[in-house]
């Protein structure tokens, strides 16, 4: 075999290796989900969703945790969406190239890399203790809002960047002020991209466990929260609690709850991808 053939062979071998690596992640993903389905699907019925948690595995349901997750989702959206988009708009449209903007930029990039459990420590001390909100839904939502703020800001900036300058120029030429241009032209034009980012950020918030454990969210709450000041649990914490128990019935419960959690995550990701595709086509 001469060296040309050898090199071609190596080339082909690497190609096969590359395909194997690419597929291994996906195959494992399918095995994960398949295994969880086998363990949990038989446990899912209407009662599983509407029953309160119980000491007996076969009687336990996810009602309180599911309601907690929905509360967290709604409140986190209300808090993080306006602040994140406003900050993104400021950085992209208003801020000049100076020290402040450089500081804001490096700071946001750093915040995006702070481990989620650290946000939990911040929430525990600042919201739960100093502001005296306790281990409430509000504390959880505030904590998760800060956690996903950098993701929303970055997504907003990317979306605004993609709007062609011609739209901006046309609006200014018609005598619109800066804010009128942003409100009537830029935000509607970048809406799809912003929405994609916000939904992805929220899907992350729904799956977060560690920061909520740190602020003191409970594994067992007898009732679903009815105000933002109530104590709560969320699906991931319920799952974590069930995994930590030795009896087999709880493992089944955990798998069943994971199916529900994954369903929520995948639906949110699907919606985000749908918006992204529709929005990308608009500018092509």
């Amino acid at each position: 075999m001469n060296s040309i053939q050898k090199n071609r062979l190596k080339d082909q071998l690497f190609k096969i290796w590359g395909i194997v690596c690419t597929l291994i992640g996906l195959v494992l993903l399918i095995i994960f989900i398949g295994d969880i389905f086998i363990d949990g699907i038989s446990r899912i019925d209407w009662g599983f969703i509407t029953d309160l948690p119980s000491r007996k595995a076969e009687k336990s349901g996810i009602y309180t945790a599911l309601m907690g997750s929905i509360w967290i989702l709604v409140l986190t959206t209300i808090i993080s969406f306006p602040i994140g988009v406003a900050a993104g708009v400021y950085l992209e449209e208003y801020s000049k190239k100076n020290r402040l903007s450089a500081l804001l930029e490096i700071n946001i990039s750093n915040l995006a890399g702070v481990p989620s459990i650290i946000y939990g420590l911040l929430g525990l001390e600042l919201f739960a203790r100093i502001m005296n909100l306790g281990a409430s839904v509000l504390t959880g939502s505030l904590t998760l809002s800060l956690l996903i703020l950098p993701i929303i800001i970055v997504a907003t900036r990317e979306a605004i960047k993609a709007v062609p300058t011609s739209i901006r120029d046309a609006s200014f030429a018609l005598g619109a002020s800066k804010w009128q241009t942003i409100w009537h032209q830029i935000l509607p034009a970048s809406g799809g991209g912003i929405l994609t980012g916000v939904i992805l950020a929220l899907s992350r918030a729904v799956g977060e466990t560690a920061p909520l454990i740190v602020i003191g969210a409970l594994a067992y709450v007898p009732f679903a929260p009815s105000t933002p000041m109530d104590e709560f649990s969320v699906l991931p914490i319920q799952i974590f609690n069930w995994i930590s128990r030795p009896q087999h019935g709880f493992i089944e419960n955990a798998a069943a709850a994971i199916i529900i959690l994954l369903l929520i995550t995948f639906v949110m990701n699907g919606i985000a991808v749908y918006f992204r595709n529709r929005w990308q086509k608009k500018w092509k």
Partner: protein
């Protein structure tokens, strides 16, 4: 009137942006205040040299080393899984794969990162550990091996996605020149494209390490809760993050030394990830300038 309105709007938008600074200041002060109180009772020297971490026992020791070694060990295993696979994927997708394949596979891979980490924890404990026990009979029910491997799978998309973007950004002309010299795709990839994209690849690796160090639920579920100074992947260990979870699950009184330990552990974790994130940011900025 309109001018005032415009100004008010601008200032309130600025206010929103400044919240991010307040968050950083908040994190640092909260961690620092409680950590300073902690270090009034425990000397820094003991903290970094004592080889035992037993704040919840009657015989109390406050040596962070066992938690650091647990964090280091699980992260090391995760990176050894994620790095070769992630880099191979990025090179394959950028240099070999047809465009349509690349377009469908990338979002699917990113789905790996979208799965809640507690789900990975379940998988590590219920599936991977029993599977590995068939080959390693003395593997403990909680161990850093399964937790590390599963964490590695989770961070594959971090490595592959950012590296692939960096490889993709390398100008076409460099590749054409290499092909023109008779090089194969493999030679071009490793001798031309990868070196040209090296800073982007390094950024992806640093971010993956930072992510692995801060990962909580996988290790809290599958690696155990026994701080021990070891590099043996088959025994239970405890990471910094898992310790914080363990304390948070119990009833720890505010103001007690146990309460402060989670902030001392937290600030250690924060310092490490902060250094890694700043480093990656610097490299990224430098690299952007190079291509613009």
């Amino acid at each position: 009137m309109r001018k005032i309105r415009e100004l008010v709007i601008e200032k309130s938008l600025l206010g929103s942006a400044l919240i991010t600074i307040a968050v950083t200041v908040g994190i640092i002060s909260v961690l620092a205040i409680e950590a300073v109180r902690f270090f009034k009772e425990v000397s820094l020297f003991d903290f970094f040299t004592d080889t035992q971490w037993t704040p919840l026992f009657t015989d109390k020791h406050y040596g962070i080393l066992p938690l650091l070694s647990g964090t280091f060990l699980t992260s090391l295993i995760a990176i050894s899984v994620a790095l070769p696979i992630g880099l191979s994927i990025s090179i394959y997708l950028s240099e070999y794969a047809p465009k349509s394949f690349r377009k469908t596979i990338k979002p699917l891979l990113e789905l790996l990162a979208a799965i809640p980490t507690v789900v990975y924890g379940f998988f590590a404990l219920i599936v991977v550990t029993p599977f590995l026990q068939q080959f390693i009979p003395n593997l403990s029910g909680f161990n850093s091996l399964s937790a590390g491997i599963v964490m590695g799978i989770m961070i594959i998309p971090f490595v592959s996605s950012i590296s692939e973007d960096a490889l993709h950004a390398v100008p076409r002309a460099l590749r054409e020149a290499s092909y023109g010299m008779g090089a194969t795709k493999l030679q071009t990839a490793f001798k031309v494209v990868v070196p040209a994209a090296s800073s982007g690849i390094i950024v992806s690796i640093i971010l993956a390490i930072s992510r692995a160090i801060g990962e909580t639920m996988i290790v809290a579920v599958a690696a155990g809760q026994q701080p021990r100074l070891t590099l043996d992947p088959t025994v239970p260990v405890e990471t910094i993050t898992a310790y914080i979870v363990q304390v948070s699950l119990g009833d720890v009184e505010h103001g007690s030394i146990e309460y402060r330990t989670i902030f001392a552990a937290g600030i250690t974790l924060f310092v490490f990830t902060f250094l890694l994130n700043t480093l990656s940011y610097r490299i990224r900025k430098k690299y952007q300038e190079k291509y613009e």
